[in-house]
Amino acid sequence: MWQIAAAGDRALLVTISSVIEPAVLAQVLSLDRALQERRPHGLISTLTAYGSLLCHYDPAVIERDGLAGEIRAFEGRLDASVPTGSVVAVPVRYDGPDLAEVAAKTNLTTAAVVELHAGREYLVYCVGFAPGFTYCGVLDDRLVLPRRSSPRTRVPAGSVGIAGSQTGIYAVESPGGWNLIGRTDMRLFDPAADPPARFKPGDRLRFVPVT
């Protein structure tokens, strides 16, 4: 059963599930599409992340319970197929400042870390936190590590990191606590572009080692 909870006086948070799974993301994206296509009166904008979706609404137009009811009406009626778009190649120089430490902590060689990281397709689960930041999953179990105990104050744009079961790409310079294993020259955020972010949830990508 979906959970629908108030996020203040102008937004509702719909939680479909709390696990990182393609089938869950598919449901979230399907609900997002349904709300765009049959937009309830008073719904202003939506935002997805992993297993949940936020709806900003105008309380002068629709009441919280009314909107919750309209959202609830989609439950069990969505055609939620796992996204199968084309796979975007992201060129990566695997020379990140944490690569050696990741190898040491995982009992792998740096070459094996690169091979495991570049050796599979990833699904984009979320674009958020900072402009264009792209959260992808999931990693090979052998690469699962906690975040760094003390975050860096400046992580350069294009940095590719791993944390938990996820891998992510910093699109703009920002603070960050992920283990940095490489860097891409691909521009993931451009305020002059439409859309400004290179990836969206549901996209697929693969990291390609370059020197």
């Binding site: 959970q3 108030a6 996020a7 709390s18 309380p59 958020g128 703009v172 859309p195």
Partner: protein
Amino acid sequence: MIEVVNPGRWTTIQDRGRPGRERFGIPPGGAADWFAAAVANRLVGNHLDAAVLECTAAGPSLRFDSERVVAVTGAHAADIETWVPHVMNRGSTLEVGAIGPGLRTYVAVRGGIDVPIVLGSRSFCQRGAFGGGFGRPLARGDRFAAGAMIDGAPLSNAWPDGHRLSIGSPWEVRVIGGPHADAFDRTALPRLTAVACRVSPELDRMGLRLQTPGVHLQADEILTTPVTGGAVQVTPSGEMIVLLSDHPTTGGYPVIATVITADLPLLAQARPGDTVRFREVDPAEADRAWRRLDGWLQLDM
């Protein structure tokens, strides 16, 4: 043109922000004290979408090379009378001076501050380093023009005392519980609303940290979700982070409660060391509170 003689501590160009672009990871942005910014625009006869200056802690000095009506609102400013329109003569300099009580003061210029619109707004986005005319806070020597965002005549009198928010600690801030109420035990929000929270020195437009010596909140971990302005996040150490205009679009800390839209201006004015007390309300009270402020902004004066 208007020239920045002294930029002050942290002065940025802000309008009503760019909500709706969170799906690209872009914070909604816009004036942290949305009410004071709106009143500044009303005082000079601007459209409420016009860009203003948001000045923090110490205000700027601005030189005008042609006559302009301006207004300064929000927190108290040492060197200029606030909440009333002023005529700046050609060649004169507007000095805002030290700011406080309160943290943020808004300067509106008749016509609005005319810098390029980036992704739907003139607001400076710090995290993305774009917008706000210069992609950074104002610096000495910056020059910008006033625009054509005019919606009527400037007001002839001061903004009425009775139609302002009172500025000063302790701040009483109303919240709606959740959205992650299930991550906490039932007593968590009542315990939080029973104590005084202290504003820590780490504070910016993304959010402010609160310490609650009298209560330690614990929560289950959550999977990262989208977040909104006003979200009261609880970190694993039990500290709280309340999100403001430039907040990250998603967050992995559970949100115990969310500040109502009408009281976000109060949080935007809280200074390090100030006291914040939360009070839980229902959506009907949140709605009444918002209508009250919106009604003030709509009044014919």
